[in-house]
């Protein structure tokens, strides 16, 4: 079965990046122009990196990401390589992958996108004089290089932002899963009785988790009775019914028994319409009534001491 994943649409693949290049009008000519800048970029690289880090160190927000002397050295080396790649002239799959990696790495250390983006701005500020004060470039070439640099930086930014969004998306889907898990709690409500209130539809993804947790809790608490409450289930289709029946049978195998509680009249009616026979299963309209059945089974009598 093909489960489509919402994440995949954010992180670019190499094909969509080719499309992105067409979108910003990044041509072979741009690649060639950037390559013209390359020897000068190589010469300028050390100065560039020093200036950039000098700038970053001025701000407490960015300074705290730079670490100790050793770390700083490593960052500067990485920055230098990154900077020189920008004008390498080769913007193929290798370039694409390395840019994605950089984006992910920055997201991982918690660098805010704001800083990431603003650093690109500083990049341009340092580079513009390098382009326009270079005597080997006439104005037309300088303009071309400027435009090409602008485009490639924009492409880099897009990849970085994609990586950020992708990572955030993963956090959200992980949290969704956690909420899902929380929404089917299994609790011991009496010595020998566990209860599981189900809220929402019991879909396949959730059933497996739910069943495992229910069986585990039954064993851990040594409970002969489990109440599954379906008050919060909006409707039951044949797939949900199947999941419920599977769960009930698994509980039976442990030697325990399920009581389904919170069966609303509409649900009972739909089950009849679907032709699903629950006659072999104990059901009660409310959890309270289900608990009564459970206590009877355990030969427990609850007395109202005020009436004694």
């Amino acid at each position: 079965m093909n489960h489509s994943h919402s994440n995949s649409k954010y992180i670019s693949n190499f094909n969509s990046w080719a499309e992105q290049k067409r979108f910003v009008n990044f041509t072979d000519e741009d690649a060639a122009l950037l390559q013209k800048l390359h020897p000068f970029a190589v010469d300028y690289a050390d100065v560039f990196v020093e200036k950039l880090y000098e700038h970053l160190q001025k701000f407490p927000d960015t300074k705290r990401f730079l670490g100790d002397e050793k770390m700083l050295m490593r960052l500067k080396l990485a920055q230098k390589a990154y900077f020189m790649d920008l004008t390498s002239g080769d913007y193929g799959e290798g370039y694409f992958k390395s840019r994605i990696k950089v984006g992910i790495a920055h997201q991982r250390i918690g660098l805010p996108p704001r800083i990431y983006m603003s650093t690109y701005c500083y990049y341009m500020q340092l580079m513009i004089p390098q382009i326009y004060s270079n005597p080997t470039f006439d104005v037309e070439t300088a303009n071309g290089i400027f435009s090409a640099l602008h485009k490639i930086i924009n492409l880099d930014q897009e990849l970085a932002i994609s990586a950020y969004i992708h990572a955030t998306d993963e956090v959200i889907s992980r949290q969704t899963e956690e909420i899902l898990e929380m929404s089917t709690p299994v609790i011991q409500i009496w010595e020998g009785v566990v209860a599981a209130p189900i809220i929402g539809m019991l879909d396949s993804g959730r059933t497996q988790q739910f069943m495992e947790r229910l069986l585990e809790t039954i064993v851990q608490t040594n409970s002969p009775v489990a109440l599954i409450d379906i008050t919060g289930v909006p409707q039951i289709d044949t797939a949900t019914a199947q999941h419920l029946i599977d769960t009930i049978n698994a509980v039976k195998l442990l030697g325990s028994q399920v009581i389904i509680t919170g069966v609303r009249p509409v649900i009972a009616q739909t089950l009849v319409h679907l032709g699903i026979d629950l006659s072999g299963i104990i059901t009660r309209p409310t959890m309270a009534l289900g608990l009564k059945v459970a206590l009877d089974k355990l030969s427990i009598k609850v007395v109202d001491v005020s009436k004694e």
Binding site: M201, D203, S204, Q235, D237, T238, H273, L274, G275
Partner: protein, 138 residues
């Protein structure tokens, strides 16, 4: 915003089944169906959308429309897929018939939950199932 009276939703993932149910629940409630009918309609949607996802082997789409008649409201639903099709529709409608090891009670159940069911299917081309349900207008 005016209540939406028609629309469509793709069926490509299990999440889409959830969206289909939610869409139709909201539309049916807004149209004025009673809770019993809403539950029946949404259950039918769940069955048919899941069938597209599980059985067709392809993507599909759900289309819906709210219908009006003097004193009555109705809902028309269509589930179309471009998948493998159903070789024998009468057999598929039988209680307990399944090719997936599940209950085999979806289609027969939908027939009882709704007022009208119509299945058009061609092997290798796809399946279109339409259902309708009418209720008293509030």
């Amino acid at each position: 915003m005016a209540n939406q009276e028609a629309g469509e939703n793709p069926i490509k993932s299990e999440g889409d089944i959830v969206t289909c149910r939610k869409l139709i629940r909201n539309a049916a409630v807004a149209a004025g169906f009673g809770m019993t009918d809403v539950t029946r309609i949404v259950t039918a949607v769940s069955e048919l959308a899941r069938n597209v996802y599980v059985h067709s082997g392809s993507d599909g789409v759900m289309r819906w429309e709210i219908l009006h008649q003097p004193g009555q409201i109705g809902i028309h639903l269509e589930f179309e897929d471009y998948g493998k099709g159903i070789p024998d529709v009468d057999q598929a409608m039988e209680v307990g018939f399944t090719t997936a090891g599940t209950m085999g009670m979806g289609l027969s159940g939908v027939k009882r939950l709704m007022d009208d069911i119509n299945i058009k299917s061609e092997v290798g081309v796809g399946t279109t199932i339409t259902v309708e349900k009418w209720g008293r207008a509030k």
